[in-house]
Every structure is written in C-alpha cells, then in structure tokens.
C-alpha cells in the first residue's frame, strides 16, 4: 500500500467540510484579485520580480556579512542580540528574558516564526498571560486553534463562528456584525496593550545598515507592541534581512502588493533600539533563529529562503483553496509550506506535501521573489520516490513504466494490454471503479475507456511515411 503521513487523511476531512471551501474561496480570491488589480501599476511586473529575486539571492549569498552588520548596528543602538540554533533554544531565550524582568503580561503581534518555534505554550506554562493582538490571530487564540493562513489567520472562521467564540470567551452579546465584533475586541485589547510588560513580534525585514527591525501591520498592533511595553522582543529567522533602506523600500513595494493588494501596509514600524527619552521600550531584544535554515542554505533548495511570507502562493493555489492551512503538519501551509516543511520537519514526516499540488505552476508565477516552487515540488516528489516513501506499489509501477517507455514494443504491448484489461470494466464509455491501488483514482474521478486505436497508430495511419516511429 501507498504510505501516508496523516496529511492525506486531513486533506480528505478538510475537503469534506463544505463551508470551509467557500470561506477559503472568498478570502483567497479577494486577495488574489487585489494583487491582480494593483500589480499592473508596477508597469513591468516581471522586472520588479527579478529585481527582488536578485536582491534576495544577494542577501542569501552574503548572509554572514549582513548578519554581522545588522548585529553591530543594532547593538550600537542598544538592542540586545540573542542567537538560537534551534526552536528550543529560541524558546528558552524568550523565557529567560521574561523571567529576568518578572514579566507577567505579554502582547504579541502576529508572527509566523513564533508559531514555528511554538512559543506561546512555554510562556503560558510559566504563568505569563500571552495575548495575540492581531484580530484574526486573537480570534484563533480564543478558539484554541492554529492560524489557517500565513497572512489572514482566521480565514476559516465565519462571522457567526466569531460571534460564538466571543460569546464564550469574552462575554460578547452584540449582533453578528464584523464592525461591532472588532470594536469589542478593540476595547479588550487596548487594556492589554496598556498593561503589558513585554511586547513580542516577528520581523518582516531587518535592515542591516542602518540597523532596523521592521514590522508591517494594518491594525496598528505592531506599533503598540513595539512602543508601549517596557520590553520589546523581536524574533526573526536569520534569512529575513535586507542590506539597506533602498532594499527595504523595494521589499515593501512588493510585500503588500502581492499579499493583500495594497501598495503598502497601513503601518510599517521600524525599531533601532531602546528609547532614551521615556516613551518607547526601555529594552529591545532580537532573537535570531536558525532552526534548520543554515541547513537549507547548504542544500540544493536554498532558494526557498528567498520567501518573504506574503501568502500570494496560498491565495493562488487551487489545492489550498479547498483544504486550507490546518491540514499541514506545521505553521506554514499552501505551496510554500509544501516545500518549506519538508526542510524543517524532514521528508519522512512530510513526503506527502509536495503531492498536494496540481502542478499548474501558478504559485511560481505569483511569487514576488520568484521562489521556483513548481520545480521544487517536482524535485521533492523525486526525492521522496528515491527514499522509498512512495511505497512498493508505486515503486514497482514506476520501474515497469520506466522500462516500457524505453522499449517501444513493450510500450505498444502495454497499451493494448491495458485496453484489453480495462474495456470489460467500463459502462457507457466510462470506468467508475477499479480494484486495488488504482481504485484511489476512481474513488474520486471517472476514467474514460482508452480509445480503440492509440494515438501512435492514428499518427502512423495519418502520416503514412511513418517518419516518427521506427
């Protein structure tokens, strides 16, 4: 039998939820439409994508140099730098900073890296109140769920879902109106900001020179988290760096346009270091997390590290639009998740992911930094077959197929044998059921009966000189 990681089962469950797909459609199409409406004003979009890809490559090729510069410049501004090789080290660093400063209440701005290192549970276990302040992330946190999308975490929740979550968790008793719901959250979160001892965010970009930590939010929570509490701590993957403000400007031009179809997010907040004047944080910490990234950098899939987490490939993906983000065995989902998670978790726990693709190639076309997602999806399928994750049936089938493709007589014989084998199982020209492993196909799709004469024979008949075959 074909082997599965559990992903397969989860996608089946997700696609059985009828309302999930419609919610995902609204969100992903809205964002895709936004991207398509705004990007033409860049003029030569391909030119901008290439500039951005080249820039990301340059950074990755000189990552050590730029990290050195970033660290030196931020330290000069008074920011404390921490290095973490693993998720566990990163969690310990944050715990220690919180403990050293007797932190009781933390406000967080939405961040994928803190999801990746699974930060909240260890802080909560230490008795610290951790509040997500991005509205979508707050909803998901109250519901005890995980984010369903890199950019819009509550994508799987309807307005009615939010009403029920708010009723249960924060005593909401208003109508099912997004504006009223948002205002209810605003009142509560404003107090959280006011009373928090520590703010935590991810990092959209760190600028090496001048040393700056940049985060983008539309709601303004990023400004609160970086400005109000007496301690601000940012967590970043080591690859999220740009050389200077020129490069930051280009990345900002691309990020929001490709993500939500805006020209720029409403607030882009830069932090160099602690405040020296009574407004703003007294301490600023930056945790630089490797967690497998240097391994990716050393391998053939290093271009994955170009990714700026805009979510564009999720919005474009016909598979993601059906299954959403919760099926994936990590916080990253969609096409980028399918190529990134195998690097972070190992192929043995994720060899199914690259198969969640129709290979339509849209994910590659909509990527602002030209991550070659479709190529990597194929290469990873190759890797997983090589490692034997396809199971014996696939292995035998593919071996026979490979042999037959190289021997025309065997290929022709195979075609005839297939027709002879399949014909009796058909009804009105369609095959609705096949026994054994091929049944996986017919359980969701009907198969047409092979034509009476193969393409090859038709070709030979129509081109009687028979040049193409021998």
């Amino acid at each position: 039998m074909t082997r599965h990681t559990g992903f397969y089962q989860k996608t089946a469950e997700a696609s059985a939820k009828r309302d999930l797909a419609s919610k995902l459609y609204v969100a992903t199409y809205r964002q895709s439409d936004g991207r398509q409406a705004i990007c033409p004003e860049l003029g030569d979009v391909e030119h901008f994508r290439q500039l951005s890809a080249d820039l990301r490559d340059h950074v990755l090729k000189n990552l050590d140099t730029y990290l050195d510069r970033l660290v030196a410049n931020l330290e000069r501004a008074g920011t404390k730098i921490h290095w973490a090789r693993t998720a566990e080290e990163a969690r310990e660093i944050v715990r220690r900073v919180a403990a050293d400063n007797a932190v009781k209440r933390i406000v967080k701005s939405k961040s994928m890296i803190t999801e990746e290192i699974d930060l909240n549970p260890v802080l909560e276990a230490d008795g610290i109140e951790v509040t997500e302040t991005d509205l979508g992330e707050y909803i998901v946190q109250l519901a005890g769920q995980k984010p369903g999308h890199i950019v819009t975490p509550a994508v799987h929740c309807s307005t009615q879902d939010v009403v029920e979550i708010f009723q249960k968790k924060i005593g909401y008793n208003g109508p099912a109106d997004p504006t009223k719901l948002t205002k209810a959250a605003r009142v509560i979160l404003r107090d959280k900001f006011r009373n928090a001892d520590m703010g935590i965010s991810g990092v959209n970009f760190a600028v090496a020179d001048p040393g700056l930590i940049a985060i983008c939010t539309n709601e303004g929570n990023g400004r609160y988290v970086t400005t109000r509490p007496r301690i601000y701590l940012a967590v970043m993957g080591i690859e999220r760096i740009v050389p200077d403000l020129e490069a930051a400007a280009l990345m900002l031009k691309m990020l929001a346009r490709f993500s939500t179809g805006q020209r720029i997010t409403q607030y882009t907040t830069f932090t160099a270091g602690p405040s020296r004047d009574g407004e703003g944080p007294e301490q600023v910490h930056l945790v630089l997390v490797d967690n497998g990234r240097s391994g990716i950098l050393a391998g053939k899939y290093w271009r994955i590290l170009r990714c700026i987490r805009c979510g564009s490939c999720l919005n474009a993906c016909p598979v993601f639009r059906h299954i959403g983000g919760h099926c994936f065995p990590g916080c990253y989902s969609g096409p980028i998740g399918s190529i990134l998670l195998p690097q972070l978790l190992g192929l043995d726990k994720s060899f199914d992911l690259p198969k969640a693709s129709s290979l339509c190639g849209l994910c590659g076309d909509v990527c602002p930094v030209k991550v070659p997602i479709p190529d990597i999806l194929l290469d990873l399928r190759h890797d997983s077959a090589r490692s034997g994750y396809g199971g014996p049936v696939e292995k035998i089938g593919m071996t026979v197929m490979a042999k037959a493709m190289r021997r025309p007589w065997m290929y022709r014989f195979g075609q005839r044998a297939m027709r002879w084998f399949l014909k009796p199982m058909s009804k009105n020209g369609w095959i609705r059921y096949l026994p054994g492993p091929p049944g996986g196909w017919t359980s969701v799709k009907d198969l047409p009966v092979p034509a009476p004469r193969s393409f090859l024979r038709q070709w030979q008949a129509n081109n009687s000189d028979g040049q193409t075959t021998k």
């Binding site: 609204v26 809205r30 030119h47 820039l55 490559d57 340059h58 090729k61 990552l63 140099t65 990290l67 050195d68 501004a77 730098i81 290095w83 973490a84 090789r85 509205l135 979508g136 909803i139 819009t152 975490p153 509550a154 929740c157 309807s158 307005t159 948002t182 205002k183 605003r186 539309n218 303004g220 929570n221 400004r223 609160y224 970086t226 080591i238 200077d244 403000l245 020129e246 490069a247 930051a248 400007a249 280009l250 409403q266 607030y267 882009t268 907040t269 830069f270 160099a272 602690p274 020296r276 004047d277 009574g278 407004e279 490797d290 240097s294 391994g295 950098l297 050393a298 391998g299 290093w302």
Partner: protein, 230 residues
C-alpha cells in the same frame, strides 16, 4: 552561541551550491515608479489620490484661516486634543495659531502626558518628518521632542504636511531619512499609510481597530509655510 550560528552559516555558504559574493545588485533608480517632479501640484495630487485610496482624508490648504476651519470640522465638542512638536508648529505657523488651538479646544502637549493620560486623548495633531506620494504615506519618528504614542492612541489623527515635504517614490525613503536624521538614527519611526484597518472577519473591511479610525492629512501649500521642519 553567537559564533555557532554564524559559523554554521559560513560553512553552509562554503560547502553549499551558493558561494559567490557580488556587490549589491539593486540600483534604486530601477525600482522607481515615480521620478522627481518639477510640478509640485502633480505630486500633491498623486499623494492625495493614493492616500485617499487607502482610507485617509486629504485636505489641501493654502491659508491659515482655512487650516483652522478644517481642523474645526474634524474636532467635535469636548474632545481632548494632543498637540505634538508645538515648537515646530508655532515656528512654522506662528504662535498665534497655537494659542488659537489652545483657546478653541481642550488642548495638551502630547509629550507632557504620562503613560496613562496618553490613552485618554481623542485627537492628535502631529507634524511629519516627510511624506511619500507613491503610497500616500507619512513618516513619524521617535525622539525626546516628539510623541509616537499620540498618533496611535487617538481616535482621530491630524497630520500636518508641508507641500515640499512630499517626495515622489518609496525609493526616496533612504535619501529623505539621511536628510532628516543624518547619522542620528532615531530609536524608531513609522510609515503611516492610512487609518487602522482590518479585514480579518470574512474579509469585511473594518476601520479603526487598534489605531485611529480617522486619518486626516492636511497638506499646507507654500503661502502658509516656508521650509519644512528639520
């Protein structure tokens, strides 16, 4: 631990498929959409159009009376007004204007508010460091003489932009940053490009989540002011 991660990265770069180091490939001019514009009116129009499309209100004002009038339409009775960088405002617009604000509204200076009082203001008036037409953005920095909280905690944010503070493209950010701050990098700054907003509940647009629900950008034409504040 420091050398550990960096050393692993260096090793990865030595042993992996990528090892070439090239000079920074980005020429800022190649990433521009808008170039320096001789016609300032066109630049103001672009700024206004772009800012409006992200939800801001834009008022272009050429006289001091008109400015007072505009502010009057924004602030409601009884609302608390926090003024930021009053020195800059009175230097550019005259101390009479500042006094008039103090007489007309419950006015305080933003940086004189403590950590609790800053949450009790309704309207904030702030000058800006500079503005970008392409994205309809303003830049506000942190520093001992200015407030970064008032433009966040208020319900309405009024930003005063001198017309010649507007530059065409986001790619102008680095040069403006240098011009305004020289080598004194502020502890922080924010690019503000519209009111606080979200679409996290079924993609329904809601304005005024954590930050101000109203952003009023008042562009002051030349007759009203001289050079932009440093």
């Amino acid at each position: 631990m420091t050398s550990n991660v960096l050393e692993t990265i260096r090793q990865a770069l030595r042993s992996g498929p990528i090892n070439s180091t090239e000079s920074h490939p980005l020429e800022a001019e190649r990433a521009r959409l808008f170039f320096a514009e001789a016609d300032r009116k066109k630049l103001i129009d672009l700024f206004a159009q772009r800012a409006r499309s992200s939800g801001a209100s834009v008022h272009v004002v050429g006289e001091l009376n008109k400015l007072s009038e505009t502010i009057g339409t924004i602030i409601s009775d009884g609302e608390r007004l926090a003024v930021d960088r009053p020195d800059v405002i009175s230097e550019r617009l005259g101390s009479g204007f500042l006094n008039q604000l103090k007489e007309s509204y419950r006015t305080v200076v933003a940086r004189q508010l403590d950590r609790e009082e800053i949450f009790k203001i309704n309207v904030a008036i702030t000058p800006v460091d500079f503005a970008i037409a392409e994205t309809g953005s303003i830049i506000i920095s942190a520093g001992s003489d200015r407030s970064r909280m008032s433009s966040l905690t208020s319900d309405k944010h009024i930003a005063l932009i001198w017309a010649d503070q507007i530059v065409p493209d986001l790619m102008d950010l680095p040069a403006q940053f240098k011009r305004v701050f020289a080598d004194n990098v502020p502890p922080g700054f924010t690019i503000i490009s519209g009111p606080s907003k979200t679409a996290d509940i079924e993609m329904n647009l809601v304005i005024g989540v954590h930050g101000p629900g109203e952003l009023h950008l008042i562009v002051l034409l030349k007759g009203i002011a001289g050079n932009p504040p440093k």
